[in-house]
Amino acid sequence: MSSGQTILLVEDNPDDEALTLRALKKNKILNEVVVAHDGAEALEHLFPRGSAEVQLPGLILLDLKLPKVDGLEVLRRIRAERRTRFVPVVVLTSSKQQEDILDSYQNGANAYVRKPVNFTEFSSAVSTLGIFWLLLNEPPPRLHAPSD
């Protein structure tokens, strides 16, 4: 399965990164995956310095607890920018604490998924997310880049 859209995986834990990539591959989700290892790297990818045109990802899988810039701040920045405000962001994290879930939705997350410990469940969660957001879901029409 490939719709030509990339996935931006924002994940600092190398094991979680490897397991997520394994789950995507196992479920034949062959879209290109860009990995950002902390919040700052994610922001650099989405908002590159200078005038470099960057293709926006079709889906962002965002961890909350990240080095440098945390997930909620990345989410706020994404929602604050006209160019990125509609990009689907799924918070994919360890916690199911009420505050984390609430904070994520309050800052405009499209979904909140807790990473299951069991790999079969984890794999099925990642696959469901990929299929839903990259294939089933109809993305908003491409917005014109701001002319400033």
Binding site: D16, T93, Q97, D100, V117, F119
Partner: protein
Amino acid sequence: MSQSPLKDIEASHNLPEARLYTAIVNSSDDAIIGKTVDGVIVSWNPAATRLYGYQPEEAVGQPMTMLCPADRAGEIRDILDKIGRGERVVHHETVRRRKDGSDVHVSVTVSPIRDEDGTLIGASSIARDVTEQKQARAAAELGRRAEALQRANGNLETFTYSVAHDLRAPLRALAGYSEALLEDCGDDLGADGRSYAERIQAASEQMAMLIDDLLQLSRVARAEMHLQPVDLGAEVARITEDLQRGGPDRRVRFAIQRPVQVLADRSLIRTVLENLVGNAWKFTARQDEALIEFGTVPAGEAGVCCYLRDDGAGFDQAYAGKLFAPFERLHSAGEYPGTGVGLASVKQIVERHGGRVWAEGAVDAGATFYFTLDAKETP
């Protein structure tokens, strides 16, 4: 020139010494009371009237004990004993009772009075209202404690956040790579190797469950309470419906008293009922038929006493005390699954509602869990 400044004042104003002293006593802000060695009041200044509410004519001739709350009557005796030995009592902080029955915090200094020959003839008692100082000290102490508590709470929140976010990641790696091992190298592992990998997976999941339960326990201890009317019977009925849907083959009869109206935090009290009903469901799983009952029994004082009874595996009453301690289990994980946190949460929540919880049971003869709630049952 003259012997003392006092003599100067006497001379310039033509005042006899006694009148001068009386004027000083009368203008004092402190209550100044003269009494005999037996503790009978002989003089009473205007500040004493302001402090205690008695007019001089009501006080003079009465025993000092009339200013004492009943539980401090012995104090007056002790003070008089000291005076009798020629000692003073300095800045003694205590409580005195006013005419209107209210109590006042005072600091008292009592000194012996002697005549010219040095014979003890009575005592002077000087008392000052220290309610405000006391309140200020208490407020300061309270402030310090609140600050310490806030710090502790902040630390706890950081700890909880770290547990929720960091502790599960290594478990995902353990479970995930074990699974990868089984999938990619399963043939090379052999039967033993595969069984080891499966055990690693199972242990990781067990620990993940423990972490979740720990977080739940910390949540029930910290969550803010919002009391509202809740029908416990209706809540139990809803929980049993869910359980029945999850196990349609089980033959369990339910006898649920409705309504059982209480004032409680809905989310927390639901956790109590889910745990108790869930336990009853779990510990009757090995029998063909089961009966689970929920109802109330007459509560001694105000409040309500509920019970949740099953006719399942039960427990040895000798270990009843251990049931509610976190991570204590009376059954092995192989027999009945669980982490031993459910009943600890129940206890936390019931106690936060001002109630208590206890259990009665016998091996293979079922268990009954009782809990009281402080809030009155509303009709």
